[in-house]
């Protein structure tokens, strides 16, 4: 039975309605979680012994970095499904996720440099993680600009899907080569992995923020995909009926 439902919602017309029903829930959940997570991060979590108050940027920085990586993989999976089974909605989802992924990659870089200034004394270090995050940001930009350059939606979907898949295969290669490059050049002077064991409240705050980012991403991607559906299906009868209803 569930199979039938899945196929039913693979149609843009039915998914449009489903997405509309799901958005408010995820949006409200994300607002609540952000409020709770930020409260824990800024008021409840103890001051770090080594890093003082400045470490609190971790509550935005780390979830954003996680999300930027997750979203790329999710995007590539949608793209792969779209390419393999020719499902239009998957390609639309990939397209809808990309800007949010790029946004999180940017936030991770931006907050990272604000964290780096008080901790390391510089805005930017060519650390393996920072560099691979930057390259991930470039990969998002490549995907978005390729899709934007192609007018025909079918070709744009499939070309984007291919570059997303090529990108996702390359991400580990790039990560390890950057890591090796970095250790060869300057030695592991700064390592985020060797952070002192974290207080439970810090971890809780970070996880809540991560879930908040997830729900935010779902809400935003769904509203973006609704717009993409409307744009693509503008010549179909159900969209014109929908517009009639609104009028």
């Amino acid at each position: 039975m569930s199979k039938i439902n899945l196929y039913k919602f693979a149609s843009p017309a039915t998914f449009y309605g489903l997405a509309g029903q799901m958005i408010p829930g995820f949006a409200i959940l994300s607002a609540i979680l952000f409020a709770v997570g930020l409260y824990i991060g800024f008021f409840v979590a103890p001051t770090d012994a080594q890093q003082g108050e400045a470490y609190r940027i971790i509550f935005i920085h780390v979830p954003a970095a996680w999300m930027s990586m997750f979203i790329y993989v999710v995007m590539a999976v949608y793209a792969g499904v779209g390419l393999a089974f020719n499902t239009r909605l998957s390609a639309m989802m990939a397209q809808a996720l990309a800007p949010t992924g790029a946004l999180f990659a940017f936030i991770a870089l931006f907050t990272g440099s604000f964290w780096g200034k008080p901790m390391w004394g510089t805005w930017w270090v060519w650390d393996a993680r920072l560099t691979s995050q930057l390259i991930l940001f470039f990969l998002y930009i490549g995907f978005i600009s390729l899709q934007a350059a192609i007018d025909d939606p079918r070709r744009s979907d499939r070309a984007g899907a291919l570059i997303a898949l090529v990108g996702v295969i390359n991400v580990p290669i790039i990560y390890f080569s950057v890591k090796w490059w970095n250790t060869l050049h300057q030695g592991a002077s700064i390592s985020l992995t060797k952070a002192p064991s974290m207080a439970h409240t810090m971890l809780a705050g970070m996880l809540i923020m991560a879930i908040a980012c997830w729900t935010y991403t779902i809400a935003v991607a769904l509203s973006r995909v609704r717009l993409i559906i409307l744009e693509r299906e503008r010549h179909s009868t159900w969209v014109s009926e929908l517009l009639e209803d609104i009028k």
Binding site: F138, G142, S145, L146, R154, A159, L162, V166, S177
Partner: protein, 221 residues
């Protein structure tokens, strides 16, 4: 097989008859490399340290510039469509075209690189490693670049778009290519880096022709 031989022969002939295309890329490479000393100053020690990286980055950019020629002319006159229709495996055709592209556009750069390396004061050993690393690395650039070239066929602003798509993917080759020369000058030995470049080349040879074939089908649909 004869089909592939014909395609290779034809591409080679076209490249030989359009010498200016090859020379433009080569001189772009030379000019690009010569600009760096003018920009950072003639300090021999600095130039020696920068040399491998500069040469490799210039090779990356030059190779990217020449990507447009890989499929564009065949796309414009419809030959590419005929190639898609012919019974020979498209991935093999792509491999043949990429091989000739490398021979015509990248090999001249590889041969020119030691001369430019001399200008940066690289030692004899370093020059050998540089040439070897370029020999192993530039085919990867052609193959990976072919993905970008095939996806952007006939698009507005295709050239700039290719750079956005392809340059991030070139990074591992750059790291290990320039790293090989650095490792050899610092006495670590370049074998490790060269082995990884070789591994990347094998991976690219196996995986990219299929991807390019898929991309061509998408672009020509």
């Amino acid at each position: 097989m004869s089909m592939l031989a014909w395609i290779m022969k034809r591409d080679l002939l076209l490249a030989i008859r359009r010498k200016s295309d090859v020379l433009t890329t080569l001189f772009f490479f030379v000019i690009m490399v010569s600009l760096f000393p003018l920009g950072v100053g003639p300090e021999p020690q600095l130039l020696k340290a920068m040399g491998p990286g500069v040469l490799w980055v210039a090779a990356l950019l030059a190779s990217m510039l020449s990507l447009g020629r890989l499929f564009a002319a065949d796309y414009a006159d419809g030959t590419l469509e005929q190639m898609l229709l012919c019974p020979e495996s498209l991935a093999l055709i792509v491999l043949a075209k990429a091989a000739i592209h490398w021979l015509a556009s990248e090999l001249p750069l590889v041969l020119m690189a030691p001369l430019l390396g001399l200008q940066f004061g690289l030692s004899g050993d370093a020059l050998w490693v540089l040439t070897l690393s370029l020999l192993l690395g530039t085919p990867v650039l052609s193959l990976v670049g072919a993905i970008g070239a095939s996806l952007t066929l006939g698009l507005r602003g295709g050239g700039v778009l290719v750079s956005l798509l392809v340059l991030p993917l070139y990074i591992p080759v750059l790291i290990f290519g320039a790293g090989a020369v650095d490792a050899s000058t610092s006495g670590l030995g370049a074998e490790g880096h060269l082995s990884i470049l070789g591994a990347l080349l094998v991976l690219a040879l196996l995986a990219t022709p299929k991807a390019v074939a898929a991309a061509l089908r998408i672009s020509l649909e």
